[in-house]
Symmetry: C2
Subunit: 339 residues, 2 copies
Amino acid sequence: MTKRMGSQTVAINSNVSLLSGAAIAGKKEGEGPLKKYFDTILEDAEWGEQTWEKTESKMQKEAVITAINKANCRVNDIHYIFAGDLLNQCIGTSFGIRELQFPFFGLYGACSTMAESISLSAMMIDGGFAQTCVAATSSHFCTAERQYRMPLEYGGQRTPTAQWTVTGAGAAVLASGGTGPYITHITTGKIVDMGVKDANNMGGAMAPAAIDTLKAHFEDTGRMPNYYDLIVTGDLGQIGSEIVKELMPDMGYDMSQNYNDCGCMIFDMEKQDVHAGGSGCGCSAITLTGYLLEQLKTKAINNLLFVATGALLSPTSTLQGESIPSIAHAVAISNTMNA
Amino acid sequence: MTKRMGSQTVAINSNVSLLSGAAIAGKKEGEGPLKKYFDTILEDAEWGEQTWEKTESKMQKEAVITAINKANCRVNDIHYIFAGDLLNQCIGTSFGIRELQFPFFGLYGACSTMAESISLSAMMIDGGFAQTCVAATSSHFCTAERQYRMPLEYGGQRTPTAQWTVTGAGAAVLASGGTGPYITHITTGKIVDMGVKDANNMGGAMAPAAIDTLKAHFEDTGRMPNYYDLIVTGDLGQIGSEIVKELMPDMGYDMSQNYNDCGCMIFDMEKQDVHAGGSGCGCSAITLTGYLLEQLKTKAINNLLFVATGALLSPTSTLQGESIPSIAHAVAISNTMNA
């Protein structure tokens, strides 16, 4: 069977199962609507560590270990780990997983990392290079705020379009065989930059990338949106997901019945004062490894299209007057083998 | 044929050729011993751009376009690009390649990125997911200095163990078929951290990771060092490569006749005042895509083991008292098919 479908999609023809997922969530996320799906909820921002960066590393490590335990794997069974995060030089990951001693491919995909890591894990397994892989990522509100924006102590006012970086670490174990849910298709995004320069409106900047990847996925696979029980984008929040809802029908894709965004799902948008919604690598990661995977395992949904989105800017590029290049990667997950 | 060999190595069983390489080098690098192997040598640090970060992005873009042209590929033939760099949020890459419109997997492997990007490209092609891939990375002395160390205008004194970040961008085109040289084996590194905390001695910090990966490669493949005409590490410089030379024989691996380090090869260590040698993603990248690839194509060498090394620290982790997690990835390249 051919693996390539169209210009951006490949089919995973062998059985590659999402064996298990683990979600470590922050306190605020643990007060939100998905709280019962998280493995661990932190009681404070530090979790016993002296710096927030060390907390984030500890979260990523715990997510990986928890996912491996839930999959009943031995550590020696893990052939590769694909992981990354938002911190400069991805230290959330490198310090988080350094004791685990897995062959490691470091990724930087901003908030698209969970889809990127699952994509590469699934392709490595389907390609015969690995039996079992781990895909992982993390973000932390406090590490992100001080790195990207302001010292937290400054208490800066946030704009209405700003999103709240999720404190969360997600990890998934993927393996050849298993009883599903199965990774069936991977649509890899291109960089899309429509010229948005407002770093306080990441949802608006990333929405065109999500639309571009969704369109490619539907064209490449010949599927229409109603094939899926649920289509979720990563962290477009209210502004970005409204753009998706408005523009997809113009291209002939009706997603009015089965579309949502992890940035809108993870918080109670009425009560939790997160402005335009959640963001960060952890947002789509723990929504997937916590809530969505459970929905698949219980057959509440059977076909999921998971589209994580990333804004590939830095504070330096913004200071230099640049716009925000964005990307989105899509992973189709199904309870049906070779769906 | 089985693809997995031992715990960290896979064999690339189909013919995956390194079709072409391109090397864009800075002025200082263009005055060094490898100058005649570079496609373009910059006349100054800016190359017509207003900021060094924009220069680095332009270098990476030009390296990719040059490599594609040299491979006689059409842009539409490129199924994936694997790329990353040292800058916060990898903006050298995201702004460099945003106009090229290739499906993009962003990597962060610090100075190991060229080996990481080639590893994943080769596996994607061998696994049947792509016909042609691009692997790319870059570094720039000025962007690295101001991000990791001091404002350049400050003119800080450098320690004797410090290395000089190479201004360089390298890109390689890999494809199924072709006439070689062929990627034959991939040994993926684990994070190794022996507790070195001196961010001015990266070679010393990274040497144990290089040794760990070399040892894994020899054990997994059953090869001895003399199988290779040349074994090169990425950017250990004088300090780190001395450690490799000293410790490998203790483990039964004699590399006295065929080992060198890109950080020692790229500069004239006597005359160019680079202290312990070159470093940065661009160091091993342009040594490979410029000099080493030419040596393979002219059969001056026929079997190369390319081991790029990365230090996975950040200025924040150093300020928080952390040691330096390091990694090394090895790629075996041969003029003989299925060697």
